[in-house]
């Protein structure tokens, strides 16, 4: 029982096919409460597909997703957002006809069901936490870093229990990445469990408690980064057969 309570989200033999192509096969992962879990793997390994299936963008072909002890495999994406699973996107997806603040408000309005004034308050708080300013700016005027932060803020405004960050550090500078890592640690400090997909190994090494390595849609290795990074199978997957 104790073991169970410690795990907020797990998958059982999770598979996802696209028109016969296998994107995920029999993936079993566990996300513990308050943990930062890294998901790494070469391009096309199925990392983003995993997040898409976990957040309900499309249902699994086989297998189950257990969240807080309940099977949520059949729940649509908007319900999963309401019960506490939030995400950002690999390629940023700002809502271009809304301002920065309004973008962040959407999560509070619909996932939390707040009224407009409440949502403005909530969104301003979250933006303040993320260090965002000039909240009435249209998103077309934002820098790459600001858009990334806005995506995190939009996810946080849903009051998530789990936050999934898909390549947050892509396209921002090394200093900016440091700032972002501080923020992620602060978010974890609030008791939110975090799942990061990342290519920048420096970030994975510094940030995560544990990593899972995916390759060709299956779990290749699992454990602390220091351990996994010396695993010969992982090295081979990253460098390829011909290396």
């Amino acid at each position: 029982m104790d073991m169970q309570d410690n795990v907020i989200l797990k998958t059982e033999k999770l598979s996802r096919h696209f028109w016969g192509l296998v994107a995920l096969t029999q993936v079993d992962i566990e996300l513990k409460r308050g943990e930062i879990l890294g998901i790494i793997g070469p391009n096309g390994a199925g990392k983003t597909t995993l997040i898409n299936v976990l957040t309900g963008l499309f249902p699994p072909t086989e297998g189950r997703i257990i969240y807080e002890g309940k099977d949520i495999s059949a729940l649509p994406a908007h319900i999963r957002s309401r019960i506490g699973i939030a995400r950002t996107f690999q390629i940023s997806r700002p809502l271009v006809d809304l301002t920065l603040l309004e973008n962040v408000m959407t999560g509070a309005l619909f996932a939390r069901g707040l009224t407009c004034p409440q949502a403005i308050k909530k969104a301003s708080d979250v933006c303040g936490f993320m260090g965002l300013q000039d909240l009435d700016k249209p998103v077309s005027k934002l820098t790459a870093l600001e858009i990334k932060k806005m995506e995190v803020a939009r996810a946080l405004s849903t009051d998530p229990k789990i936050l999934m960050l898909d390549e947050l550090m892509a396209g921002i500078s090394s200093d900016e990445a440091d700032e972002m890592m501080d923020l992620i640690n602060k978010i974890r400090g609030q008791g939110i469990s975090i799942c990061v997909i990342e290519h920048v190994m420096r970030v994975i090494a510094a940030l995560t408690d544990r990593v899972i390595v995916l390759d060709w849609g299956r779990t290749l290795a699992e454990g602390p980064y220091a351990e996994v990074s010396h695993n010969p199978m992982v090295i081979k997957a990253y460098l390829g057969e011909d290396a």
């Binding site: 994406a77 908007h78 957002s81 009224t115």
Partner: protein, 306 residues
């Protein structure tokens, strides 16, 4: 600034409401026809703000008209109740169509709405003549308010006000955030907890009810319905061209477009008794190619540059 705006709106409202006291019958008639198209244009735009394109205004307009007229014939109750009934029927039918089709959106929805007017016309033609009057339609004994143009004007003005208020609610409340998210990025909308299907059905029903309302009022004003006139492509086409020309995704764009095209249309009809619809087709093409934000967008651009 805000006080100024409120003042202007109040002045406009008073001017429009008091119009019948100092305007002749012909002008009043022209204005309320334009106001009907204005309501249709705004309601069409309201759905467009959620990213859904409807070609089906004429279908809902016709359904509203038929439902109102049939209730009138069968029960002979107050025409205002019949108008309300027409609106509700259009809403109910759009609910069914929305539930069936809005999970698959975009082109599928657009084509369904494109076929709608024709389908309703076929159904009306094939129902027993004793219900619908068949191909000849139904002529009522009496137009609403016995044809009094002032009261008719106020009725249409009232419908326009309802439409404008709803449209502003769409732009200023949480609905605005839901539909803008859906239009901009459905995946983000879902991830923010927005039930896209539910919102789209609700918005389709609201805008269809408005279109049914206008159609029902129209038949009560003219005292007749028939399948060809009430499902005519005019009622899809004109509002669409008006909203596009004025500037989409706002309340005032369609208003401006309706005034410009409504007045121009009066002259067009005199110049080209038939075939004048070609102008509306050309306007649609030209706006899409060269003026995507319409007159409103042009004004904004010009004022911002200065």
């Amino acid at each position: 600034m805000k006080i100024w705006k409120a003042f202007v709106i109040a002045a406009l409202f008073l001017a429009a409401a008091s119009l019948p006291f100092y305007t002749g019958t012909y002008l009043l008639h022209t204005i309320y026809i334009i106001m009907m198209y204005m309501s249709l244009a705004i309601s069409w735009d309201m759905l467009l703000r959620a990213g859904q394109l409807s070609f089906g205004i004429a279908g809902l307009f016709g359904i509203g008209g038929y439902a109102a007229t049939m209730l009138q014939v069968f029960t002979n109750i107050n025409p205002l109740i019949c108008i309300l009934f027409g609106a509700i029927m259009a809403g109910l039918i759009s609910l069914l169509i929305g539930l069936a089709t809005l999970r698959l959106r975009g082109i599928y929805f657009a084509i369904i709405t494109l076929a709608m007017a024709e389908i309703f016309r076929v159904i009306i033609r094939n129902l027993p003549d004793t219900w619908t009057g068949g191909a000849m339609g139904i002529v009522l004994n009496n137009a609403i308010f016995n044809g009094d143009v002032k009261q008719t004007y106020w009725l249409v003005f009232g419908i326009l006000l309802i439409t404008i208020v709803l449209s502003e609610v769409f732009n200023k409340s949480r609905i605005h955030f839901a539909i803008t998210s859906i239009r901009n990025d459905e995946i983000v909308a879902m991830s923010s907890g927005i039930d896209i299907f539910k919102w789209l059905v609700v918005i389709f029903v609201i805008t269809s009810t408005l279109q049914g309302l206008v159609g029902a009022a129209y038949t009560e004003i003219y005292g007749s319905v028939n399948p060809d006139a009430n499902f005519s492509v005019h009622y899809s086409l004109l509002p669409l061209a008006m909203a596009l020309l004025g500037g989409i995704r706002s309340t005032w764009g369609p208003v401006i477009g309706a005034i410009v095209l409504g007045l121009a249309g009066e002259y067009l009809k005199l110049l080209m008794p038939y075939g004048y619809l070609i102008i509306y087709g050309l306007i649609i093409i030209l706006v899409i190619l060269f003026l995507p934000d319409g007159i409103m967008g042009l004004i904004k651009k010009l004022t911002q540059k200065k």
